[in-house]
C-alpha cells in the first residue's frame, strides 16, 4: 500500500481526497437549499399574514388558529386518518398474500408478477381518471350491472358525500398493493430455506411456519412498506384531484388538496403554509420513531 501511494504525485492524492466531496457538493447544496431551506421558509411564512404573495408581517399562530377553525380542514384531516389507515392496512394485507401465493413456485410467476406490479407504472392521475369512469354510476359498474339485468343494483360511492373517500382508498390500494407485493416477495426470497425445513422437522404446519418463523423475519420489510405507504398517503394529491376533485362538495379533500387550494387558488398563503407545516409534522411523527429504531438497531449490530 505504502509503495503505491508513494509513487503517486501529491496532486493525485489530493484529487482523490477531494473528488467525492466535490461530486457530492451540488447535491448536498441543492438538498440543503431546496429541502431544508424551503421547509424553514414555509415555517416562517406560516407565522405571517401572507395572502396572495409573501408578506413579512408576523402574526404569531393566528394562521394555525384559522386553520383549525376551518371545517374543511377538519374534513381533510379526518379523511387522511381514514384514508391512511385503510390504505396502509389493506395494501399490506393484499400485498403480503399476493407475495405468499406467488412464492409457491407456481407456473408463469414472472408474467403474473408483472401484471400485479403493473399499476405502479401508471401515474396516479391515470389511475384516478380510469377509476372515475369505473365508479361513476352512469358509466361504470352500476350501469354494467343494471344492463346485465340487476336493475336494483346500486354502487354510487363516488357521488355520495360519506362514501367518496373510500373510492380513493380503492384506487390507491389497486395502485400500490402490487408494489407492496414486490417488496414482500423479495423478502420471502431472502428467507433461508433451512429455517423453513427446520420448522417442518419440528412439526410446524404451513400456517405456523408463516406466522412464527417467516413473518418475524420479514419485520424490516413491514417497516419499510409502512413508511413508504404512509408517505404516499400523506402526500396524496393527484389521485384525489383526478378521481373526485375533492368532491362531492369538499367531502374527499386530503390535506395536500387543502394546502394547494388555499395557497394557490385562494390567496391565503399563510393558511396554506400552516397546513403544509402540519403535514410535515405528520410525516415526522411517522419517520422519527422509524429512523430512531433503525439507527439504534444498526448501532447494536
Amino acid at each position: 500500500m505504502r509503495d503505491i501511494s508513494r509513487t503517486r504525485t501529491g496532486w493525485a492524492n489530493r484529487l482523490e481526497h477531494w473528488l467525492p466531496k466535490l461530486v457530492l457538493a451540488p447535491t448536498t447544496l441543492a438538498m440543503i437549499v431546496c429541502m431544508y431551506g424551503f421547509i424553514v421558509w414555509t415555517g416562517a411564512l406560516s407565522l405571517t399574514k401572507s395572502g396572495m404573495l409573501p408578506q413579512w408581517e408576523f402574526v404569531g399562530f393566528l394562521q394555525y388558529d384559522k386553520l383549525f377553525a376551518n371545517p374543511r380542514w377538519d374534513v381533510a384531516l379526518s379523511n387522511l386518518v381514514v384514508f391512511g389507515i385503510l390504505f396502509i392496512v389493506i395494501s399490506l394485507i393484499i400485498g403480503l398474500f399476493l407475495a405468499i401465493f406467488l412464492d409457491q413456485k407456481i407456473r408463469l410467476e414472472g408474467a403474473i408478477r408483472t401484471i400485479y406490479l403493473y399499476p405502479m407504472a401508471v401515474s396516479f392521475v391515470v389511475t384516478g381518471t380510469a377509476w372515475k369512469w369505473i365508479l361513476n354510476p352512469g358509466l361504470g359498474i352500476e350501469k354494467l350491472m343494471r344492463d346485465l339485468g340487476f336493475s336494483d343494483f346500486e354502487f354510487r360511492w363516488l357521488v355520495e358525500q360519506d362514501m367518496a373517500i373510500y373510492t380513493i382508498v380503492i384506487a390507491a390500494v389497486w395502485q400500490s398493493s402490487g408494489f407492496v407485493m414486490a417488496m414482500f416477495l423479495a423478502g420471502l426470497r431472502g428467507v433461508d430455506d433451512s429455517l423453513i425445513k427446520a420448522a417442518h422437522i419440528d412439526g410446524a404446519n404451513v400456517w405456523q411456519t408463516y406466522w412464527h418463523v417467516i413473518l418475524p423475519i420479514l419485520r424490516p420489510v413491514f417497516f419499510s412498506a409502512v413508511v413508504i405507504l404512509s408517505h404516499i398517503a400523506i402526500k396524496s394529491f393527484d389521485l384525489v384531484q383526478a378521481l373526485t376533485g375533492g368532491g362531492p362538495g369538499y367531502a374527499s379533500d386530503l390535506p395536500a388538496n387543502f394546502m394547494y387550494t388555499f395557497a394557490f387558488n385562494r390567496a391565503q398563503m399563510g393558511i396554506g403554509a400552516a397546513s403544509a407545516m402540519i403535514m410535515l409534522f405528520g410525516v415526522l411523527a411517522v419517520l422519527v420513531p422509524y429512523l430512531y429504531s433503525e439507527l439504534r438497531g444498526s448501532q447494536r449490530d
Binding site: M52, L53, P137, P248, G249, Y250, F264, N265, R266
Partner: protein
C-alpha cells in the same frame, strides 16, 4: 437569453423597416387557449402587430386560470412581470395595493373611457382613482338555458320565479327528464347559489350580504329562504352530477336529456358549436326572479409596471386597442359575451346578446347591476373561497337551511 436578444434584434429590425412603429413588445399572460377564445386573442395580436408592436404570447392553459396566476406570482415576485396579464375583479386591487400595476390613465383620458364604460365596470378597472386595467368583455352570469322541446313534451312552461321553477321542474321530472342539468364542481354550485341569492333576495340584499358582507344582512331571514330554495334544487339534478364539467351539462340540455341549466353566457358557445339557434332550438332567459338584474363577470387585462420606455408605449397601444370598437366586436362575437364598451353597433350579435346588452344598460340605472361573487368579481379570493365551500358542502349534503346560514356567516367572518 438568446431568445430575448433575438427579440431585441427583431424589434430593432422592425424599427428600421417600419416608420412610426413602437419597436417594442408586449408580453401578455392569459389562459384563453381554446377555440373561440384563442381566435379572439389572435385577433388582438394581429391588430397590435399591424402597429409594429411585437406580441409575445405567454399563454398558460388551465380552466379558471389558476395555473396562470401561480406563474404570474412567481414572475412578479422575481421582479420580471409580463406587460399585461388577465386579471379581474378585486384581484386588480390586490395587485395594485402591492404596487405592481402601471397607470394607463392618459390613454383612458384621451379616449374618454369614463364616458364609454358604466361606472360599476370602470370602478373595478381603477386603483387609487387611476386606470390600471382594461376590460375586454362583459359576461352575464344569471342566465337560464332551456330546451323548449323538452318543455313542450312535458307540458311545462319556462319558469320566471323560483316558486314557479319548483312547479315546472316537477313536471319535467315526472315526464322523465332531468329538470336541471348541473355539474357538481364547487364553482358551478356557487353559480347556481348566486342565481338563487339574486332571485330570492333581490339586488339590494345581494349587494349588502354578498358584496359589502354586511353581517346583519347575511344573518337575516332572507338568507334562510335562500338556503331553503337552494336546498330544494337538490332533488332536480341527477345522481351523476358530481365532478361533471359545465359543458357536459350544457350538452345534456342540447340533446334533450335535461330541461334547463343555470350558467353564464359562455354556454352559448356550446349551443353554437352544436348548430343550434337562439330562440328556436334553445331559449335564454334570465334565471328565475332576476329579469331586471344582471350579475356581471368582466374579463380584463391589468398592466404591470415596465422599465423600458418603448415597452411602456407598447403597453399603452395595447390598452387603447382593447377598448377599440373593432376588437370589442370581434372578441365578443367569438366569446359569447357582450362588449364592455357601451353604445356599439349591435346588429351582428344574436338575440341573447341583445337581451344582455339591454339589461346591462337598464340595470345599471336601476341598481340591478351586481358583480358576480361566484366568478371573482365581488369579494376577495379568500371570502369567495369561503362562500364556495359553504355552498358546495350544503348542496351536496342534507344540511338544514338554518345550519347552512350559520356556516356561511362563520366562514365569511373567518375569511375577512
Amino acid at each position: 437569453m438568446l431568445k430575448r436578444s433575438i427579440a431585441v434584434c427583431v424589434a430593432a429590425a422592425s424599427l428600421a423597416l417600419t416608420p412610426a412603429s413602437y419597436a417594442a413588445e408586449v408580453e401578455v399572460l392569459h389562459w384563453w387557449t381554446s377555440g373561440g377564445e384563442a381566435k379572439s386573442v389572435a385577433y388582438l395580436k394581429k391588430r397590435l402587430e399591424s402597429q409594429g408592436v411585437n406580441w409575445k404570447d405567454f399563454a398558460v392553459a388551465g380552466g379558471g386560470g389558476e395555473n396562470a396566476m401561480t406563474v404570474l406570482k412567481s414572475r412578479a415576485v422575481s421582479g420580471n412581470p409580463p406587460t399585461a396579464a388577465q386579471i379581474k375583479g378585486p384581484s386588480i386591487q390586490e395587485w395594485g395595493d402591492l404596487g405592481f400595476l402601471a397607470s394607463i390613465d392618459d390613454v383612458a383620458k384621451t379616449n374618454q373611457w369614463d364616458a364609454l364604460l358604466p361606472a360599476v365596470v370602470s370602478d373595478v378597472m381603477k386603483h387609487d382613482g387611476k386606470y390600471v386595467a382594461a376590460p375586454v368583455n362583459v359576461h352575464r352570469v344569471n342566465w337560464l338555458w332551456a330546451n323548449p322541446d323538452v318543455f313542450r313534451k312535458a307540458g311545462a312552461s319556462i319558469p320566471t320565479t323560483w316558486a314557479d321553477f319548483m312547479v315546472q321542474a316537477k313536471k319535467l321530472k315526472e315526464a322523465g327528464f332531468i329538470p336541471l342539468a348541473h355539474g357538481g364542481q364547487a364553482w358551478q354550485d356557487a353559480t347556481v347559489f348566486e342565481a338563487v341569492v339574486l332571485g330570492v333576495g333581490g339586488p339590494e340584499y345581494y349587494k349588502n350580504a354578498f358584496v359589502e358582507l354586511d353581517m346583519a344582512a347575511l344573518n337575516s331571514a332572507t338568507t334562510d329562504e335562500v338556503f331553503r330554495v337552494f336546498g330544494e334544487l337538490r332533488q332536480f339534478i341527477d345522481a351523476n352530477s358530481p365532478g361533471r364539467d359545465w359543458n357536459v351539462a350544457t350538452s345534456m340540455v342540447i340533446n334533450g336529456e335535461a330541461g334547463m341549466q343555470i350558467m353564464g353566457d359562455w354556454a352559448k358557445g356550446e349551443f353554437a358549436v352544436a348548430g343550434k339557434k337562439a330562440g328556436t332550438d334553445y331559449v335564454c332567459v334570465a334565471s328565475p326572479g332576476t329579469s331586471n338584474a344582471f350579475t356581471f363577470n368582466v374579463d380584463s387585462f391589468a398592466f404591470f409596471k415596465q422599465s423600458d420606455a418603448a415597452n411602456q408605449r407598447a403597453q399603452k397601444a395595447m390598452a387603447q386597442e382593447i377598448l377599440g370598437t373593432d376588437f370589442q366586436k370581434v372578441f365578443n362575437l367569438n366569446k359569447g359575451s357582450i362588449p364592455a364598451r357601451l353604445g356599439m353597433a349591435r346588429d351582428e350579435f344574436d338575440s341573447c346578446a341583445h337581451d344582455s346588452m339591454n339589461t346591462f344598460v337598464s340595470s345599471a340605472e336601476t341598481g340591478g347591476l351586481v358583480p358576480s361573487f361566484a366568478h371573482g368579481m365581488a369579494v376577495s379570493e379568500a371570502v369567495a373561497g369561503a362562500i364556495y365551500d359553504v355552498a358546495t358542502n350544503y348542496f351536496n349534503s342534507s344540511t338544514s337551511p338554518a345550519d347552512g346560514k350559520a356556516q356561511l356567516v362563520a366562514a365569511v367572518q373567518a375569511a375577512m
